[in-house]
Every structure is written in structure tokens, then in C-alpha cells.
Amino acid sequence: MAQAHLDLSQVGISFTRGGKTTEVLRDVNLKLDRGEFVSIIGHSGCGKSTVLNIVAGLLKASTGCVLLDGKEVSAPGPERAVVFQNHSLLPWLTVRENVALAVDKVLAGKKSRAERAAWVEHNLALVNMVHAAEKRPNEISGGMKQRVGIARALAMEPTVLLMDEPFGALDALTRAHLQDQLMEIQLRLRNTVIMITHDVDEAVLLSDRIVMMTNGPSATIGEILPVPLARPRRRLELVEDQTYVHCRAEVLEFLYARHARPALAA
């Protein structure tokens, strides 16, 4: 069997605080193919963001390892660009400067100054943010900030795009709009994506596979559900689609029947 594009094997992590060690994750095994869109879903506190941070290199796994194209991931890097939950734009830079900061650093050796400037514009255009390029983050809406965050991540030409609840802080309408945009971009660029979410519809709509996590401590992957829906997907058509309804039911069943949040179950 060919080597997996992204390979998490036996990944576990423990934190020690005040002499007490808590095992947050154990035995996480996941293989991704190139161009695959995988969502990780689970109750809050189950360590799904921790998985993402380990892949990003922002956290170090206590056990196991993450291989990207056969190379071990040990530190953060632009080939694993992150779209942060709270957008993480630098408030003293304009929208364009925020994207340019990443582009100028990451692609310094690969593209000329003019090419980099054009690449920044190209990525802003990809998320429809050219009109606000001169604005600062505090002058634009939450949805716009997240679009800039996505543009910044895509502009790094990542092999894997990591998204940490990218639309979690947005209202439902804006979220739907951005999901559509993301699907459109994904159709064109064919990035490998790992997305953390707590939204069942979002997971089913966007993913090729949904990774469902059990509750912590010592959380791990409970089940992996393939979503065999053809692309492009249209949210209106899917509402009545049998496969969609079935996948949605599977995830809901996992989250609320088999692995209900302990606090709620009690």
C-alpha cells in the first residue's frame, strides 16, 4: 500500500499541571490522502483542537508521531498553514499587509517581489476581500476577518490546510456563506484539509470523511464516517438527500446517544 500523505500514528498527549498528569489524547490513528477533506467532530473538551495543534506542530505529542509525506512533523511550518478559530489577524496591519506578511516570508525564495504582490491580490480575490484590502481588522466584520484568515493560510501554498473551528464564532447565515465559498475554493485548489468543527451539518456538507472523537480524558477516535456525496455539493439539494440525511443521523447518533457529554449524561 502506498504511503499516506498525512499519517498520524498512535498519537497521544499528556499535560502535567501542578504535579498532576492528565492524559488528553491516546492512540489517535488517522491517515489522509492528498486532496482529502476531513472533519474532526466531538464535544468540547474532547481534545479535537489538540489533535490539530499537534499536526500544526504547535504542540508536541507525548507519544506516537505525525508524518507528512514520510517526514516527521516536529515544528510549525507554512506547509501546514492554520486558519485559527479567532482569525488571529495582526490588528496593526491592514488586510493586505496581513496576507503579505505571510507571503513575503514564506515565498521569499520562490517568487519575485512583484510576483508576491500579485499572489497576495490573487488570494484576496479568492475570498472576495480585495475591496477591503486597505482596512484594518477592527474595521471589518467577523466573517470578513475569517475570510482574510483563510486567504492568509491559502497564500502560504500549504500541502495541508488546518482549520480550527474556522466558522465557530460566526452567525449562521455568514457561516453558510463562507462554507459555500470554502467548498468552491476547495473544488479548485484540491487542498488536503483537516477541519475541527462542532457543527454536524458543517461536517457532513464539507467533508469526505468525518472523524468522530470520544470524550476526554484520554480521548481518541471513536469512529470514522465516509461521506459518499458527489461534488459539487449544494446545500439546498442535500437537505432531502438520503445519503446526507443518513450521514447526519450517524453523526448525531454517535455524539448524543453513544458518546453523550458526560456532564449531560449524568
Binding site: G57, L58, P76, F84, N86, P91, L101, K105, V106, P137
Partner: protein, 289 residues
């Protein structure tokens, strides 16, 4: 038909009102707002001068009333630019000399303070080692450093500059360190993902992110250095506003002292506002993050 004309009528009226609202740049409301800001301080100032005039009007009063200050010190008020050689110069030259010392000492303090503050803010060990030392040193009154620096430099000029430096550096260090420690983890994550090197991280993330804190330190620092320079110059002599005040005291020119004090106050106020303005210019957007 009637509806159309009604709509047109409204549109025309709207246009007219927009025009009438736009044409006069200064409206009555603007003037009232300006008056509300300017009148109270003027009233207080006038009341203060009147009280002073009355209180010091007796011939036996220790201090001259404002009217006599004005008449006695008129030569130095009317011509701040004269230069008769030596220390017999106009107020402008004295203030300029003091400002130069402050500028040099403060500039050194900014560079050293931001660097030390970054070190202390960034490294847990540097903080544990240096913070207690800073906390003790910063309580030493500025003038207490003067004899030591005179002994070390054997000259008034560098000693005065050193006193400014050592006075203004502590708030800069402490505020910079707090600013650096408060850099959100998000910004550090972004820097890690795009792999900024430490120097790039310093210029592109640390400084802008800590800028609001740093400028708070700079404002306190510049105020302290202006406080210290006047006292230091009284002791070291030479040209400078502090020396001018001491010299006037020795010659019993009380009116000249009062004029000099007004200048010192106004310049200190301007320095504070300049640093504050520079701060709000540089940290545009950051504070509202």
C-alpha cells in the same frame, strides 16, 4: 402624478437640507463645544491670577503679584533669544540646552529600556534575576545618582545625561516587559507557522503588539526626565533652565523664577503630549484589537 411630485418635493428638500448642512463648516454646535472646552480653564486661570494678585498685593508679601512679575521680568519674556555669552542667555537657549540633555538621555533610555524590557518580558530566568534589581534601583531618587555619576564621568554634561537616562529607564523597562508578556498566544502561533526568525519576530510582532504598553512607559519616562533635569542642572551649572532658576534665586530675581517655572510647566506638558501623540499614531488600531 401627485405622488411623483410629492416624491420630487421630498427629494429636493432633502438635497437642500444636505446642502445647507454641508455649507457652513463651523456650526453653532461646534462653537459651543469649543467654548465648553476652552472657557472653564480660562475662568480658573483668571480666578487664580486674581487671587494671587490680591494675596500678594501687600508691600510686605514674600512673592511678587502677577502684575509685578510681568513688569520686572519683561526683558526676559520679550526677548528669549538674546545671547550675551557665557550663561547670560535668553530663556530659549536655556530651555534648548535642557531639552538637548533630555533628548539624549531619554533616547538612550528608550533603546536600552526597550531591549532590557524585551529580555525581561521574554525570558522567565531574566525576569527572576533582573526584576528584583530593577525594583530596588527604580526607587532611588534621580538626584541621588548625581554624585555617583559626577565621580564616574568627572564632568557635568554626561552626568546630567546619565541622570536623565537612569531616571526614565525604569518605567520603560517595566512597561515594555508587561507588554511583551501580554502578547497574545495567537500572534506567537502565527509567527511560528510562517517561521519568523527572532529578529523578524521582534520587529514585526513584539514591538507593534507591545507598543501601547511601551508608549505608556515612554510617557511616564519623559515626564520623569523633565522633572529630573531641572534639579540636576541646579547642581551642575552651565546653560540650562535649572541653572537659570538657581541663578535667578541667587540674584533674588523672584519674578524671573516664576516666568521660568511657567516655561518649565508648559514644556513638560508639550513633551508629554508629543509622546502621547506619537504613541497614538504608532499604535493606531492596536488598542482597539
Amino acid at each position: 402624478m401627485a405622488a411623483t411630485s410629492a416624491t420630487l418635493g421630498t427629494a429636493a428638500r432633502d438635497a437642500a437640507s444636505v446642502k445647507s448642512r454641508r455649507l457652513p463648516r463651523v456650526t453653532g454646535r461646534d462653537l459651543r463645544a469649543l467654548g465648553a472646552r476652552v472657557i472653564p480653564p480660562l475662568v480658573v486661570l483668571a480666578a487664580f491670577l486674581l487671587f494671587w494678585e490680591v494675596a500678594c498685593s501687600r508691600p510686605t508679601a514674600g512673592l511678587p503679584p502677577p502684575s509685578r512679575v510681568l513688569s520686572e521680568a519683561w526683558p526676559i519674556i520679550s526677548d528669549p533669544f538674546f545671547d550675551n555669552g557665557g550663561t547670560d542667555k535668553g530663556l530659549f537657549w536655556h530651555i534648548l540646552a535642557s531639552l538637548q540633555r533630555v533628548a539624549l538621555g531619554f533616547a538612550l533610555a528608550v533603546v536600552a529600556g526597550v531591549m532590557l524590557g524585551t529580555l525581561v518580558g521574554q525570558s522567565e530566568w531574566a525576569m527572576r534575576g533582573l526584576d528584583p534589581v530593577f525594583q530596588v534601583l527604580r526607587t532611588i531618587p534621580p538626584l541621588a545618582w548625581l554624585p555617583l555619576s559626577l565621580a564616574a564621568f568627572r564632568d557635568g554634561q554626561p552626568s546630567a545625561i546619565f541622570v536623565i537616562f537612569i531616571t526614565s529607564i525604569w518605567p520603560i523597562i517595566i512597561n515594555t516587559a508587561v507588554g511583551i508578556r501580554n502578547i497574545p498566544q495567537d500572534y506567537r502561533n502565527v509567527a511560528a507557522v510562517i517561521r519568523l526568525n527572532p529578529l523578524e519576530f521582534f520587529w514585526k510582532i513584539m514591538l507593534p503588539s507591545a507598543a501601547p504598553y511601551i508608549f505608556t512607559g515612554l510617557r511616564i519616562g519623559v515626564g520623569l526626565s523633565w522633572l529630573a533635569i531641572v534639579a540636576a542642572e541646579m547642581l551642575i551649572g552651565g546653560v540650562g533652565i535649572g541653572f537659570f532658576i538657581w541663578d535667578a534665586w541667587n540674584s533674588s530675581h523672584i519674578s524671573e523664577i516664576i516666568v521660568a517655572l511657567v516655561y518649565v510647566g508648559v514644556i513638560g506638558f508639550i513633551l508629554d503630549r508629543l509622546v502621547a501623540a506619537a504613541g497614538s499614531l504608532v499604535t493606531r488600531g492596536t488598542s482597539a484589537a
